[in-house]
């Protein structure tokens, strides 16, 4: 009897396994236990944070891995009314009037070549800006730029191993300084720019470091050296033909384009020694006049990605129109530079001999774009045309050892901590440009697709795929324990000039047409909750959330207006509202806060223009005393 049971079980498991294989063959299904490997129980936490760029959404999307759950969206270059980003006065000033950005490459701050979990940088290609997100509160803290002279910051913002710099380069060359010009004079008047943006090691504040005048190629992607190649940064380009129209044809004529190797320490030194010319406020170095800061290395067939391996010995470039990854030895490059064996120069930039620098060619497949790494000396290259990822060995015999199909048309890929000195080698996420039939149809605009692939076994295995917002480019994945986000803003550290911390300070002050409302929000009322203003007044609501409890944010929304924001525990935010016509305008808490959330509301009484109103209005002292007693704080 027992024997028969065992037999039945064995048959059942063989059937199950076969069914699993069949599903896999039917277009990229995952294997039988894939669900278990991505499952994170309710209430439990993922092992990784993944930060996906939001493309022309201008946001950053945060996912938990391996569950692939969307955790939150960080507004960066795009207003977000839910939290008041781009609506309150501070973030409005940070956005500088722009309401979109094209966010491509999230870059986590590093210490010693490893993610340190302090900041996330992300570029806005279209306006040549870089934003810094503080990973303490997942908020955008600085938007630097538009970077002067730079046009389309695509190769951006790739941090150096100790976050000394984040880099940016012009994808579209324009005259420098920009001025009226004839496009036919492209090769003469146009220039590319490579910029090193300095990062303050203490607070992450970005400032101008240096700029280098480059030939007017289209500068594309970048990566900083590490280990032996620390101190250098590498930038690929296409269009070394310097075509200015019909690039689709004309920019693919040369067999070889280049990557530029920049000695950024030498560049900074040259700026410090006063060898730069100031253009639009940026110190610009001309390589023809300041030798030794930048070299060009030939790369076959319109290169795209440039990636330095974890040991820092090799620079891997992918020719988009070639079926190979070209691997360069940093040591060989240095030797060639030392011997000064150049193959001519382009606009003052010396060109190294291809054969002097090349270490290997790895036949990965069609349309190679980007390469990431694991902890066992393997590289993973995305293949756009083949819709595959190729796994290959870094080092002799430079073999391709595995391939996996992805759905469809992969651009970037992201391995767990895969661009650091110590990748974890657990997962890679494929960021696909097309999703086609992967999800329920939502009409002609398909979502993008991201796919989680397990790297821990001998073969790559698809675990899960999930739709993403349009259109993520790159992503970075960091071990969750490296981040220590805080949950409230300590009220005693709130140094906002318009903050109020005691009920007694709640008041309304008028000066001419300007009205400042110093308001507190606490479960579950605003104080003051009656505001009297005149028609035509500019009213500034400075709302301080006095809560010091996790997850108790208050909203502040005004009827018939564009005004809404969220104020988090211990935070102060300012919102401008114009009293346009006489009447009553209610306001309310727009973010659910407690059982009496519905009662958290107030009224603005707008009187006809020129009515006389006291210059200081204070709430009823009895009420103030009551609130003070309830809070127990002095």
């Amino acid at each position: 009897m027992k024997q028969r049971w065992k037999l039945a079980l064995a048959v059942a498991s063989i059937l199950a396994a076969t069914a699993g294989c069949m599903a896999a063959n039917r277009g990229g299904g995952a294997s039988g236990d894939a669900a278990r490997r991505t499952y994170v129980k309710p209430g439990e936490h993922d092992a990784y944070y993944a930060f996906l760029s939001g493309g022309h959404h201008g946001n950053v999307y945060v996912y938990g891995m391996p569950s692939c759950r969307h955790i939150t969206t960080i507004p960066v270059f795009t207003p977000e009314p839910a939290v008041g980003y781009g609506y309150d006065e501070e973030s409005k000033a940070m956005l500088g009037g722009r309401t979109w950005g094209d966010a491509h490459h999230p870059g986590l701050s590093e210490t010693d070549g490893n993610y340190d979990g302090r900041w996330l940088f992300i570029n806005d290609m279209v306006s040549a800006r870089i934003a810094r997100i503080d990973l303490g509160d997942f908020k955008t803290k600085q938007i630097y730029g538009p970077i002067p002279n730079l046009s389309a910051a695509h190769a951006c913002p790739f941090p150096t191993p100790n976050t000394e710099y984040v880099f940016a380069a012009s994808r579209f060359s324009v005259p420098v300084p920009n001025r009226p010009a004839r496009v036919q004079d492209y090769g003469k008047d146009f220039r590319g720019i490579i910029a090193g943006i300095k990062v303050d090691p203490k607070d992450g504040t970005m400032s101008m470091g240096f700029e280098i005048l480059m030939p007017p190629f289209d500068w594309d992607l970048a990566d900083a050296g590490k280990g032996p190649s620390h101190g250098w940064a590498f930038f690929t380009c296409y269009n070394s033909e310097m075509a200015y129209d019909s690039l689709e044809i004309k920019a693919s004529q040369n067999e070889m384009d280049f990557f530029a190797a920049v000695d950024w320490r030498a560049a900074q030194k040259a700026v410090d020694e006063g060898k730069a010319t100031t253009i639009n406020g940026a110190p610009v170095l001309d390589p023809a006049k300041v030798p030794g800061i930048v070299y060009l290395v030939p790369v076959p067939k319109s290169p795209h990605g440039v990636d330095v391996n974890p040991t820092g010995e090799y620079v891997c470039c992918s020719g988009k129109l070639q079926a190979e990854v070209s691997v360069y030895s940093f040591a060989k490059m240095m030797k060639a530079i030392e011997k000064k064996e150049f193959d001519g120069e382009r606009m003052g930039v010396p060109v190294l001999e291809f054969d002097d620098c090349l270490e290997a060619k790895v036949p990965v497949g069609l349309g190679p774009l980007h390469t990431q790494f694991d902890d066992k000396g393997n590289a993973y290259t995305s293949l756009f045309l083949d819709s595959q990822i190729a796994k290959w060995k870094v080092g002799p015999p430079w073999d391709v050892t595995d391939k996996i199909d992805v759905y469809y048309s992969i651009g970037h890929l992201m391995a767990s901590e895969g661009d650091t000195r110590n990748p974890t080698g657990e997962y890679v996420v494929a960021l696909d440009k097309l999703s086609k039939d992967r999800y329920l149809s939502v009409g002609p605009t398909h979502p993008e697709a991201a796919q989680l692939i397990d790297l821990r076994g001998p073969k790559m295995e698809l675990l899960y795929d999930f739709p993403t917002y349009l259109e993520p480019h790159y992503a970075q994945m960091i071990r969750a324990e490296k981040l220590k986000p805080f949950t409230i803003y300590p009220l005693e550290k709130n140094s906002h000039p318009d903050a109020i911390k005691r009920a007694e300070d709640a008041r309304i002050e008028r000066k001419g047409n300007r009205v400042d409302v110093y308001m507190l929000a606490v479960r579950t009322h605003f104080t003051p909750d009656i505001v009297v203003a005149n028609e035509g007044d500019d009213v500034y609501f400075h709302v301080t959330n006095l809560e010091q409890d996790d997850d108790i944010a208050h909203g502040f929304g005004i009827l018939w207006s564009n005004c809404n924001m969220q104020v988090e525990p211990g935070e102060t935010k300012t919102m401008h509202w114009k009293a346009e016509k006489p009447g009553i305008v209610p306001f309310y808490c727009s973010n659910f806060c407690s059982a009496l959330h519905q009662e958290m509301q107030g009224l603005i009484e707008v009187r006809p223009r020129g009515s006389s109103i006291a210059s200081v209005q204070r709430p009823d002292p009895a009420k103030t005393a009551q609130i003070a007693a309830e809070l127990g704080r002095k």
Binding site: D549, A595, L631, G632
Partner: protein, 205 residues
């Protein structure tokens, strides 16, 4: 009895008296140990909120609890409302000093006096604490949004208040105070045992 009180301790028992003084130290001189603790759980506070009462102040999630208490009209907990905090450390210091003196001068009457005063003080303080609990649960603001029937938070043990489960228990400070207190009767017991065995052995000789 009189004879006992005017007598002196043997070296072993004298050490217990010093120990009693020493044990009190972290409770009053460096208030690192709390004397009472209240923990509260609600569906959205599964991790729990904690109040710890030290001899000189209340610590823990005081602000959070005050914000929640205002719904039911309970008064905010404020250190300055408790005059106890202004004399509790000093009083305990006094008892420690008494024990120390009793040990130093080796006077039984001093130790007994200290112990009796300490006992009386403890009874008064427990009563005082119970009164506070009663007051907080009964003096509710009639205008509060949520009207609760008057209640008394638990002195020791579990209780339910609205959506909160409350556990109240003595802290390590009180345990130490208890040990210091117990050292009194223990000393007497040890002395008597020693006296008995001495009597037995002398009889045997």
């Amino acid at each position: 009895m009189n004879e006992y009180l005017t007598g002196k301790f043997r070296p072993t028992e004298r050490r217990y008296i010093f120990l009693a003084a020493l044990v009190l130290l972290p409770v009053f001189f460096f208030p690192v140990l709390h004397i009472w603790e209240m923990r509260m759980w609600a569906p959205q506070y599964r991790e729990g909120l904690t109040l710890r009462i030290y001899t000189n102040e209340i610590r823990g999630d005081v602000d959070k609890i005050n914000t929640l208490n205002h719904y039911v009209g309970m008064k905010a907990l404020r250190n300055e409302d408790f005059r106890e905090f202004r004399f509790l450390p000093q009083a305990l210091t006094g008892f420690g000093v008494l024990a120390l003196l009793a040990g130093l001068f080796n006077r039984r009457w001093l130790a007994v006096l200290g112990w009796l005063a300490f006992t009386a003080f403890a009874v008064v303080m427990f009563k005082d604490y119970a009164t506070w609990l009663y007051k907080y649960g009964h003096e509710l603001d009639p205008r509060a949004a949520i009207k609760l029937e008057a209640f008394t938070p638990p002195f020791i043990g579990y209780n339910r208040m609205a959506n909160f489960k409350v556990l109240s228990m003595p802290g390590p400070g009180t345990v130490l105070l208890g040990i210091a207190w117990l050292l009194g009767p223990l000393t007497v017991w040890f002395e008597r045992r020693a006296a008995r065995s001495a009597g037995r052995s002398s009889r045997r000789q």
